[in-house]
Homo-oligomer: 190 residues x 2
């Protein structure tokens, strides 16, 4: 499916934007292509955009004080990603985003998102809904960390991203769960 | 300050609602009073509402599989709280909310929030902004957990809630940080 059609269908699940208005809305999104391994956003960068994934798979990650990588999110088609704290607070990125596979995204600047939201009540509704899904997913991930039950976290991950185990290197799945590769192998075989 | 005025000023920071419209908006909020220690929302409850705190201090918490309590959020005047995952997915609460002090809240049902958001573009804007703040705070808290630097987490907590150390029993601050009371004492004296 073309990127434009994918975005249109994604928004149409929540908000109704007229066909002729959608052309105008879409003109604010900038298509970008990236190669496997390429960085979209790096720690310390100024953050102006958020990204709607149209093909491939990205990861949003964080390197802690002990140089241990944690994956916050895998982003596949129709997922949105950015460092939202940096984007809204106009602070340097603490989260990095790069490409697990070749990938294509639509990039929307913060300024354009705010403009479109003020022009279209239905888009404001869409972005409220979208932000709310992100908030709930983030809360769920926080609770998973607090609950400290690795097996349950692994099952949640597979139900959130069913195709992930075959798509993504095992060390990245371990980095999402915050466990070693050995622990992951035991979980998968049990 | 009266509850109504507090809510009006809180919304006015983000969205402009006419004086006469605000009376109508406010009529959807139900004032409720609670005593210190009283439960507002308990694990397993059906969740229909979110709560805007107008006086006192609440805690939103979670008990894990090892019966260890984690505090997700302290909610003070002008903060909103609920189990948002349960509220939006219509699943039983996994988060509980109770009162650290006597407290007053304004309760808004999900149905009324959606109605008001569709009636007033500006309120939709307000709730998008509010949800976004929640999302960012939740991401920040998740990163804190991943970073696993207790001293930094403690400093973040005090900057988020400067009056907290004198207001809230120490074991609750420890439950927010996920540390023992002894570790908290060492942090505070260092």
């Amino acid at each position: 499916m073309e990127a434009k059609e994918l975005l249109q269908q994604h928004i149409a699940k929540i908000a109704s934007i007229k066909e002729e208005d959608f052309d105008y809305v879409f003109s604010h999104f900038k298509p970008m292509s990236f190669k496997k391994g390429q960085a979209i956003l790096s720690e310390g960068d100024k953050v102006d955009c958020e990204y709607f994934v149209t093909s491939g798979c990205l990861k949003a990650f964080f390197i802690n004080d002990e140089i241990k990588m944690y994956i916050l999110q895998f982003a596949m088609p129709t997922w949105w990603t950015s460092d939202y704290a940096a984007l809204y607070n106009q602070t340097p990125a603490t989260i990095s985003v790069d490409c697990i596979t070749d990938a294509e995204v639509l990039c929307l600047s913060s300024e354009d998102r705010e403009k479109l939201c003020s022009e279209f009540h239905q888009l404001e509704h869409f972005f409220r809904w979208r932000t709310n899904r992100g908030y709930i997913a983030s809360q769920k991930r926080l609770l998973s960390f607090m609950n400290n039950n690795v097996k349950k976290r692994y099952e949640e991950l597979l139900s959130l991203y069913p195709q992930l185990y075959n798509l993504v290197p095992k060390h990245l799945i371990a980095a999402y769960l915050g466990v070693s590769r050995e622990t992951l192998s035991r979980l998968h075989s049990s």
